[in-house]
Symmetry: C2
Subunit: 110 residues, 2 copies
DNA sequence: CGGTATCCTATAGGATACTG
DNA sequence: CAGTATCCTATAGGATACCG
């Protein structure tokens, strides 16, 4: 997504808009963020909640979101291991845009 | 994206929300739709406006959006050929969600 | 349970060349 | 200019097995 030609469109010329699209273009990103909207969840619950996501897929997604400062990881000591993922303040700000997209889908007839 | 397990999350259980995410998950979909917001454009202008999209990529994207009822294609007779793509009313309804995402990107520090 | 390591496949999507 | 046809590669992401 590195421009060879500079886009005429100022909206697109500002790569940050494109980065936002790229963020949501990862299959699970939006879904995972959305699933955390009500509070932190453990991976196992997250998977149940989402449905159809592999363990690997979830871990990778969470790692990715973590790296981008959208999600926090908190490990509670003990056995069996217990880890919880939640949204950062920045992550929360993505809920509105994501909701706009999801809500659009719900509104549309298919 | 066909659920093996039914998602616990009602928002996600309704596949239409997921379909919306999938729609925007295609690299160029959002960008192309966005670029048509001010009116119909010819492919060549669209490419200039977007920057970095291949001819093949654009054609495929437009075809895809057309199939989904988001974009119209109008061919004007004559030579050289002149074709214009524009948004359908349904396509227009996507502008708000897309804008929400793009605007988020612009707001965020990186 | 959370996470990692392998392996494997489908496919997105660019580069290039070509047609009407 | 609009579009198609080939070719090619990177990679997303599932399946499976395994570890602490």
């Amino acid at each position: 997504m590195w421009y060879v030609t500079t886009p005429t469109d100022p909206f697109l010329a500002d790569c940050r808009a494109r980065l936002a699209f790229d963020l949501l273009s990862h299959t699970w990103n939006a879904v995972v963020i959305w699933s955390l909207r009500e509070g932190p969840l453990r991976p196992v619950d997250l998977r149940r909640r989402i449905g159809g996501i592999s363990s690997k897929g979830l871990t990778e997604t969470l790692r990715r979101l973590q790296t981008n400062g959208l999600v926090t990881r908190q490990a509670h000591p003990g056995s069996p291991p217990r880890v919880e993922y939640g949204l950062t303040p920045l992550g929360r700000t993505l809920l509105a845009p994501i909701d706009a997209v999801g809500a659009w889908g719900l509104r549309v007839r298919r």
